[in-house]
């Protein structure tokens, strides 16, 4: 084990492992990485994403290591990023989001990941997941439920281009659509109600399905995404875990997809395959018609100029991080898997509150209410609870009632206020700790 990497200072101090499998451009990208990090390591051709990450952990031979995918390029400024000591716990994987070079989305797809070795080795995901679990991602939350998780870091230093060949573009779109659809199926009602837009996952799916005509293989990526959606719809018994099997994906491409499109005037500089662009456009339009007929999908055609305008407007924000920030704040407040750090919790709640998360206001109020922070005071707690109540927090009414009840000299007016708060709490489904069913967050 490399003792020097126990708690490094910057990303430049952390071993970095480049992971490639079958990408014909991988050598080029690896060479680019080595210009920034001559010490970069590589794992190539390891079958299975779980196995690949464990191989990376072994090659890095350190308490912490970075992984980067073969379709990802890094800004030189990446390695000057200081590591947040407060978050360097073996229960967190730290992610720096990536901007998709085709559709402009900023997301975890292709992101730069900082792994604690113990977490990577404890992971059982993708091909290594228990048979009963559909695993299309690292599933960090299943290692120690409520404790292990990914933490999104500020800044975007990473660009990911999964569309350098038609096959890889198709595969990327297909896999992502299947992953997002599976995620949608597991979204809780509370997640949907609390989201700031009608459906963030629907918006992301829409981007994968409609944006990209301005890039050489963007149309293939859109086709893959639409096919992924269609597969879910047309074959409900189809096992989405098949996307983890790259051999199967290649057979699907070679024997089903490519023959449907046929050869034509367009040619891939890496693989040499030729395809009929007009036929490809017909296919994606046909899929759009079918999807629109059978689902709520809305998939208009964006030509290259419109597609480019949308991407270069930069209006596709990252997913709302407020729920995650609030949840990590709770982890630090309660000391779940990490030492209790009220200052960290307060900072995270304040950030989530700025973005408009109701429970963040309630959590900040609780810090004052319970006297957990310096200069805690009841007036501030009451004010914050009131804001949380106004924004619809289900927990704030009962917490405020409890706080007011603790005052033995309360007046008749205040007793009435407490009763109203208790009624509101019951209406919102949370009567207080031990007093009723707690709604899911």
């Amino acid at each position: 084990m490399n003792a020097a990497s126990a708690c490094p200072g910057r990303l430049a101090d952390v071993p970095i492992v480049f992971m490639s499998y079958d990408e014909p451009w991988a050598d080029e990208t690896f060479d680019d990485l080595r210009k920034l990090r001559p010490d970069a390591l590589r794992v190539h051709g390891v079958k299975g994403l779980d196995a690949c990450h464990k191989a990376a952990a072994e090659v890095a031979d350190a308490d912490w290591f970075l992984t980067v995918d073969a379709d990802t390029t890094l800004d030189p400024a990446t390695f000057d990023v200081k590591l947040p000591e407060r978050l360097m716990h073996p229960v967190f994987r730290l992610d720096w989001l990536s901007r998709n070079a085709v559709n402009g989305l900023v997301s975890g797809n292709g992101c730069l990941k900082l792994w604690p070795r113990t977490l990577a080795m404890a992971m059982r995901s993708h091909e290594a997941a228990p048979k009963a679990r559909v695993s299309l991602d690292a599933d960090l939350g299943t290692i120690r439920p409520g404790i292990t998780r990914q933490v999104v870091m500020p800044g975007c230093y990473v660009s990911s281009d999964p569309a350098r060949t038609p096959f890889h573009a198709f595969r990327a779109g297909f896999r992502e659509a299947v992953f997002l659809t599976n995620l949608k199926d597991t979204e809780t009602i509370a997640d949907q109600i609390d989201s700031t837009s009608a459906s963030p996952l629907d918006a992301i799916l829409s981007v994968w399905c409609t944006i990209g005509a301005h890039t050489p293989n963007g149309t293939w990526m859109m086709y893959g995404a639409r096919m992924g959606l269609w597969s879910h719809l047309a074959w409900p018994s189809w096992d989405p875990r098949e996307v983890n099997d790259y051999d199967r994906m290649l057979r699907f491409w070679t024997h089903t997809i490519l023959p449907r499109i046929g050869a034509g005037g367009n040619r891939c500089r890496y693989s040499g395959i030729r395809w009929d662009a007009a036929r490809l456009n017909d296919e994606i339009n046909c899929l759009a018609d079918r999807l629109e007929k059978h689902t709520d999908s809305y998939l208009p055609y964006f030509n290259a100029d419109v597609s480019r305008l949308i991407v270069e407007s930069g209006l596709l924000a990252a997913a709302n991080q407020a729920p995650a920030l609030d949840a990590i704040g709770r982890v630090f407040q309660k000391g779940r898997g990490v030492p209790i750090d009220i200052t960290a919790a307060q900072e995270l709640y304040e950030t989530a509150a700025v973005i408009g998360r109701p429970s963040a206001f309630a959590n900040l109020a609780r810090l004052h209410d319970l006297g957990l922070i310096e200069k805690a005071d009841c007036a501030t707690a009451e004010h914050l609870y009131k804001v949380a109540i106004k924004l619809g927090s289900p927990h704030a009414p009962s917490h405020l009632a409890e706080m007011l009840e603790a005052d033995p000299d309360r007046s008749l007016t205040e007793r009435r206020k407490i009763n109203c708060l208790r009624d509101l709490a019951a209406e919102r489904g949370f009567a207080g700790p031990g007093k009723g069913k707690e709604p899911r967050l």
């Binding site: 900023v106 500020p154 700031t196 100029d305 209006l315 950030t351 973005i355 004010h383």
Partner: protein
């Protein structure tokens, strides 16, 4: 909270019938063209700050819960919470304002200098007639300098490309496109378009033609999106202020002393969580 301040709702002529519920239901409606009335009400309130809802803005109920930081309330700045256009889906420079009472003495400087907060106030809908839609889009576009930054230029182009599926949206697009092409007063531009009232099928043709002219004359990549395209793009736009609003606010706060710098850091962190890589403290 903002709902605890006196609230004035400005109504443009013809707007009376359009008032929607939204937030601040107890706001006092006042004519938008009577600043002396606003000043009288502000003075009589005895409060240090007044909330003013711009014409055609429907505030979201959540905005009522916003609590201005003491450093902002004490700054003597007019604080603007921008609204989102129902036509384009983009944030505009109209919305809800928190105005220091002493500003009502001089109408010329009532809303300036100001600081725009990166919190979307609600919706802005000045499209209830073709002429209103045209005029509003024209004036909003003409008011803004054409950006030089590539990202901002593309967003600017988008603001003249969206809206064909909205009520009087094609008229809105025409207004924005004309503002990009000529320097004439809005009445002159409207006179050129008004004959299309009798020829609705000519609207989309004119938009496409103007968009092409704008691209040639200004190099702005405007596209006259059709209804399906416009509707789909608007569904992708998050209900969050764009990155430049967050960055502008962070920079504005940093000028307000030590407490302002603390607030700037908090907003920079929050902005970075929504717009990674685009916000710096």
């Amino acid at each position: 909270m903002l709902c605890e301040y006196p609230v004035l709702r400005l109504l443009a002529s013809g707007q009376e019938k359009q008032v929607d519920a939204g937030g601040f239901v107890d706001a006092l409606p006042l004519p938008a063209d009577a600043p002396d009335v606003w000043a009288k009400v502000a003075k009589e309130s005895g409060e240090e700050n007044i909330v003013v809802i711009d014409s055609h803005v429907t505030p979201s109920p959540a905005l009522e819960a916003y609590c201005p930081e003491p450093i902002l309330s004490a700054s003597s700045l007019c604080l603007l919470f921008p609204a989102r256009s129902v036509v384009t889906g983009l944030v505009v420079s109209r919305g809800v304002r928190l105005v220091p009472s002493n500003r009502f003495d001089g109408i010329e400087t009532l809303f300036s200098p100001s600081l725009t907060l990166p919190h979307v106030a609600g919706s802005f809908a000045a499209n209830y007639t073709p002429q209103r839609a045209f005029r509003t889009a024209y004036l909003l576009t003409a008011d803004r300098p054409v950006p030089t930054n590539p990202l901002a230029r593309h967003r600017f182009a988008l603001s003249a490309s969206l809206g064909s599926e909205a009520l009087n949206g094609p008229w809105w697009m025409l207004g924005a496109l004309y503002a990009l092409l000529d320097q004439n007063p809005v009445e002159v531009a409207w006179a050129k378009c008004a004959p299309l009232l009798a020829d609705p099928s000519g609207l989309s043709r004119r938009s496409r033609e103007l968009a092409r002219k704008v691209r040639l004359a200004t190099d702005l990549p405007v596209q006259a999106m059709d209804q399906r395209q416009s509707r789909a793009v608007k569904a992708l736009i998050p209900n969050i202020a764009p990155a430049d609003y967050w960055q502008g606010f962070v920079e504005g706060c940093a000028d307000l002393g030590a407490d302002g710098k603390t607030l700037a850091v908090r907003y920079a962190l929050a902005g970075a969580a929504v717009w990674p890589g685009e916000i710096s403290a």
